[in-house]
């Protein structure tokens, strides 16, 4: 690991999992997940539906027990010290369901306040106003987007040092989404926290991310700081001679589609200079190397996904 990582509890990780495995019947949900989130990071966990994002967050909340492996929040084991770990955590669940749908938003806030000594009434009300939440209405009658924002208020109002947000922008229209993410950035300026955001809409939270994990079929296909991802995943425009075949080392880096005699574009993973050398050694001509957006770079690790 690079020396620039923050140190904190548990070998430097504010949120960590160790070899998580979980099966539902014949379905493998998690297949050895080692999440590593440095303190103060905004870590975006990317993956298709069913890749294991929600299950990972549920294990961290002790809502699911892994078959194998452990998880820790601020060094607290989430199974053995679950209540203490959860007291340090704000969580937006996968489901749009504020629970206790017969309660009004205001009642739900009071209810939650009882569980958290650090709950700030004034702040909860300020957030609810900023989100334009109708607190007098029963939670069961709120729209999907309103429930999402209510869940965010519940997660933020006790100013926890760790936030686990499962698809926090799901159900929000573009305007509400921007407002919500801006409020999250303001919240972090006032109350520094380590944040894990799971999403399959990377571009929606792209600017916030400073660390990225890509989950694919229950495995972390990549996990690194944002800058490293954008430095090591690049697009190479290459001219291929007739009858050219990609050598194994380039295939391993991602060069698969070869149409001999023409120009091709590859998204390759690895050191830029090294890859340029290999391309030259393999007898192909490198025309251009261009950077990718965070989303496109992350999608390079999901070759079987339809890229938008």
């Amino acid at each position: 690991m690079s020396g620039s990582m923050q140190t904190g509890p548990e070998g430097g990780w504010a949120v960590a999992t160790h070899g998580l495995r979980k099966r539902y019947g014949a379905q493998t949900a998690l297949d050895g997940v080692d999440l590593r989130v440095p303190e103060g990071a905004v870590y975006v966990l990317i993956g298709a539906n069913g890749a294991g994002k929600s299950t990972t967050l549920k294990v961290l909340m002790n809502l699911e027990r892994p078959d194998v492996g452990t998880a820790a929040i601020l060094g607290l084991d989430t199974a053995a010290q679950g209540p203490r770990a959860r007291a340090q955590t704000g969580y937006v669940p996968e489901r749009h369901d504020a629970g206790n749908g017969w309660m009004t938003g205001a009642q739900l806030l009071r209810h939650a306040a009882a569980y958290y000594p650090s709950w700030e009434h004034a702040y909860a009300e300020r957030l609810a106003r900023a989100f334009e939440l109708p607190l007098g209405r029963r939670a069961g009658g709120l729209s999907k987007g309103e429930v999402r924002r209510l869940q965010l208020v519940l997660a933020l109002a006790h100013r926890p040092p760790v936030l686990l947000l499962d698809e926090p922008t799901d159900g929000l229209d573009p305007l509400a989404r921007n407002r919500t993410l801006s409020l999250l950035a303001e919240h972090l300026a006032d109350s520094p926290a380590t944040v894990v955001i799971s999403t399959h809409h990377v571009h929606e939270v792209e600017s916030l991310a400073d660390h990225v994990g890509v989950l694919r079929q229950g495995r972390l296909a990549a996990q690194m700081p944002r800058d490293e991802l954008q430095r090591t995943v690049l697009r190479y425009r290459v001219q291929l001679p007739e009858g050219w075949r990609a050598p194994a080392d380039l295939q391993a880096a991602g060069a698969v589609r070869t149409r001999p005699g023409r120009e091709v574009q590859w998204t390759l993973v690895g050191d830029r200079r090294e890859l340029a050398e290999r391309i030259a050694q393999a007898g192909a001509q490198l025309r251009e190397v261009t950077p990718l957006t965070l989303e496109d770079a992350a999608l390079a690790f999901l070759p079987d996904e339809v890229s938008r």
């Binding site: 921007n178 993410l181 300026a189 792209e206 251009e288 261009t290 950077p291």
Partner: protein, 140 residues
Amino acid sequence: MLVSLDPRDARPLYLQIMDEVRRAIVVGSLRPEDPLPSVRELASELVVNPRTVSQAYNELEREGVLYVRRGQGTFVSPGARSGDDERRALGRAVAKRALLEARRNGVGAEELMRIMGEVAAEEEGELAPAVSAPDHGEEG
């Protein structure tokens, strides 16, 4: 907006913010002793981790471009000027982006420069009847 980020730009976000602040100083939208938005405001506006904004401000402070007044915020240093060096650096960056884009479209450097001359002359022709001298608003 004083600072904006380009999602297609793959450089680290704090470097992009640093460049945007430098650019604002060069074009004069930020002048010596002007206050910068707070870390909170800029993080909210750009939707980035506030730590990224802090990192950019800290680096610019180290370079002497910005300074911190305790309890009051971050300001542009009296010495931070829109010198020829900075303007030249910005111009070089523009040239690099233009060249890259030109090559991608099968246009070489010399051809691009010739076309740039043509286009600039055309634009001048279009603007000439309306305004004789470009007006940049308030002049310091």
